[in-house]
């Protein structure tokens, strides 16, 4: 049975439903049941973790144990108008940043039956989308008519450019090892058990994992490398004019960017959605495709959230870095390490096939 028929069956659609309709339903479902709930869930986890670290209580009023607080925040922000002079910034952020978001959803690796669309450069496409997202922030900074947006834009530009080379080099190295950039190429070489993950394939993979994660955080300018949107010296930087519902959408985009990056990292290094103990084979043999899909989705989301929470944890105990320190780290530490990974993995692969 092909992917299209399986999804058609999954959504209880009649046989022979057109490809585009199934794709449309798929995209809507990914948004409504995966990305948006992930955003709410992660916001809650992040705020609770931050509160625990800082000896506070955190959200505890809205819904049971404050679980609905992120949803309440979204609803509140959507009702608020943005500031009137901010339309160039908002336009750039929403059009380009949002555009980048929409392009990647069909390619998201969320289980063995997804992505709906298969392409040879699948791993690189979300990376490019991330770059477009970063570019939208730089443009938003330079489009703004205030000095704080300009300086914020310049800072973000320097930072994301410096993080680009190590990110792409590492991805190239792991792509060379598995022999392609399709999701399936990365999935096939990995197992569900811990030591079957790609990160343990060669001594250079853990290094590549660290470089890729760090450069992702730099590329998106997440805390503690968020000198482009600081309040003490830049009064908010690029985001100084973004408010109301634009801010709500912007937060969602930023979450999506980091989530996407963590998802790629999990697929490339941390065993993707592979279930251990041969569970996949058992479920497939029983034709329990829905159970299989949901288990795989839960596994990969759990890994992604864990990665994001670890990054958030680190950001809670590290002070904000100055932009020149971030770019220094990227050029002088991450880039040489990424090149070492590339050379090491290539030689390892060459020796294996001697």
């Amino acid at each position: 049975m092909g992917t299209e028929q399986l999804w058609s069956q999954f959504f209880w659609l009649p046989n022979g439903t057109s490809y585009w309709f199934v794709l449309l339903i798929y995209l809507v479902c990914v948004y409504v049941f995966v990305i948006f709930p992930s955003y709410l869930f992660f916001s809650y986890l992040d705020r609770k973790l931050g509160a625990d670290l800082q000896a506070r209580v955190g959200p505890n009023r809205t819904g049971p144990i404050g679980f609905l607080q992120p949803l309440a925040d979204v609803i509140k922000l959507l009702q608020k108008e943005g500031s009137s002079g901010a339309w160039p910034t908002n336009l750039v952020l929403l059009l380009i940043g949002g555009g980048a978001l929409f392009t990647t959803v069909g390619l998201l690796p969320l289980g063995s039956l997804s992505p709906f669309v298969q392409v040879d450069t699948a791993v690189l496409l979300p990376l490019i989308a991330a770059l477009v997202g970063a570019f939208s922030l730089v443009l938003a900074g330079f489009f703004g008519d205030t000095a704080n947006q300009m300086i914020g834009g310049a800072r973000f530009c320097a930072q994301s450019l410096s993080a680009l080379l190590p990110a792409i080099t590492t991805l190239l190295a792991v792509g060379i090892y598995v022999g392609g950039f399709r999701w399936s190429a990365f999935i096939e070489v990995q197992q569900g058990a811990l030591f079957g993950w790609s990160i343990f394939s060669t001594p250079f993979h853990p290094l590549g994992f660290l470089v890729f994660t760090a450069s992702g955080a730099m590329l998106f300018g997440s805390a503690p490398m968020d000198g482009w949107a600081v309040s003490p010296d830049l009064r908010g930087g690029i985001l100084s004019v973004v408010s109301g519902r634009s801010l709500g959408l912007f937060r969602f985009f930023r979450f999506y960017g980091l989530w996407l990056w963590s998802l790629i990292t999990v697929v490339v290094f941390l065993g993707a959605w592979k279930l251990p103990f041969g569970i996949r084979e058992i479920l497939a043999a029983e034709s329990l495709f829905k159970t299989l899909l949901i288990s795989e989705l839960l596994i990969i989301l759990m890994k992604t959230f864990s990665m994001m929470l670890i990054m958030s944890w680190i950001s809670h105990v590290i002070p904000r870095l100055r932009v020149d320190q971030v770019t220094d780290t990227a050029w002088k530490i991450l880039t040489p390490l990424a090149l070492t990974t590339l050379i090491g993995i290539t030689l390892w692969k060459g020796v294996q096939h001697w």
Binding site: Q54, A55, A147, I151, P224, S231, L321
Partner: protein, 373 residues
């Protein structure tokens, strides 16, 4: 050709902005991200405080002098009370002096913790920020217990204290000191020796010893630059002559002598030294009266003038007081440490990154209400 000549850009910090110690405006001229020069505008907090003091009776001045430095209000109170006592030639009894030392050292710890919390806020270290404020609350609780207020204490009186220390106060002070002593290790692990914080504060905002000496900088900033001057030791007042005061001095162990990190370290060590002083004084709080007389209104003070200085958390705080024999001061003037610190800040800040400006400003622990008055 430097880009400065092509297009200098201007950047204004303040008057109301997160990370500033109070309402003050800095106009920076930037070359890219580097600060070329800095100008300051003050006066946003000017209240005519010294003139207001001259309109009130000798006792009623206390709530006004509190606002010279609201964060460590006990020090201007003490400076004023010492001046009045010098004019009336009636020093406070020993029990009052011990109480004053306890309150001063607790205030010093509180002010230093608040300064570190502001630094944590500027570098977005919210975790340690909350920890620091949580511990400072314990000290403010002690203030509330003895004085009824958390910030503007209004507790000292010419000739002693407003009230005697309550039962169990000393024990609670010692408990809090033990707690903070234990927490200092936590601060060090999370904050002081955090690698990233070292990168943000080492070699940044170096205050050379020569400049500190020439400008007359005192307090932790001068000590961090290697000048071991402390009024409590060089010109003891209010019973400090009987106390062993340790004066920590910066050594530049993680960067250059007198950089921002040295000032953070010096303040941390001063917290430790203050705890030692509190323990020493608590062990021998003498009995007897806690003030001279019944605390009634001072009708008049014979003509004369007095000048006293105390070691506030920011440095030497001087108070000049003149009397013409009336029921109120003829002239009262404070010589605050922050004024000098503001002057050296303007000299130091050139050549630093825009991101570091507020870190440097905070490390000097400038108090805007002292500057403006």
């Amino acid at each position: 050709m430097s880009s400065e000549q092509d297009s200098p850009s201007y950047w204004v910090i303040g008057p109301y902005q997160s990370g500033l110690p109070g309402p003050i405006r800095f106009c920076l001229e930037l070359d890219g991200e580097l600060v070329v020069r800095c100008k300051v505008q003050t006066g946003f907090l000017h209240r005519g405080l010294e003139k207001a003091c001259e309109l009130h009776a000798w006792d009623s001045v206390i709530p006004y002098v509190d606002h010279v430095d609201p964060e460590a209000a006990i020090f201007p109170e003490l400076a004023y009370c010492l001046c009045v006592e010098e004019l009336t030639q009636s020093p406070a009894p020993a029990r009052a002096q011990a109480g004053r030392i306890l309150l001063c050292e607790l205030s010093r710890i509180s002010a230093h913790i608040a300064n570190m919390a502001r630094l944590a806020d500027i570098v977005e270290l919210r975790t340690i920020y909350h920890f620091l404020l949580r511990d400072r609350e314990k000290i403010l609780d002690l203030f509330e217990l003895i004085t009824g207020a958390r910030f503007s204490l209004r507790f000292l009186r010419p000739g002693g204290l407003a009230f005697d220390v309550t039962d169990g106060f000393i024990e609670r002070v010692l408990d809090t000191c033990d707690l903070i002593q234990a927490r200092l290790k936590e601060y060090n692990d999370l904050f002081t020796f955090n690698h990233s914080l070292l990168k943000r504060t080492s070699f940044v905002g170096v205050l050379p010893q020569a400049l500190a000496q020439a400008a007359g900088v005192t307090g932790p900033c001068a000590r961090a630059s290697g000048l071991a001057f402390d009024v409590r030791r060089s010109h003891p007042y209010s019973g400090y002559d009987a106390v062993d005061v340790t004066v920590p001095v910066g050594t530049g162990e993680f960067g250059a002598l007198g950089d921002c990190h040295d000032r953070v370290l010096t303040r941390l060590r001063e917290i430790s030294a203050s705890i030692d002083i509190i323990k020493e004084v608590s062990a021998r709080v003498p009995g007897g009266p806690f003030r001279i007389g019944d605390g009634g209104k001072i009708e008049s003070i014979s003509s004369g003038e007095a000048y006293c200085r105390v070691e506030s958390p920011r440095g030497l705080l001087g108070c000049y007081l003149a009397s013409t024999g009336k029921d109120r001061p003829a002239r009262i003037q404070f010589c605050p440490p922050s004024f000098t610190l503001l002057e050296v800040f303007l000299k130091m800040v050139g050549g630093n990154y825009l991101s570091d400006v507020l870190i440097i400003l905070n490390s000097l622990d400038l108090c805007v209400s002292e500057v403006d008055r």
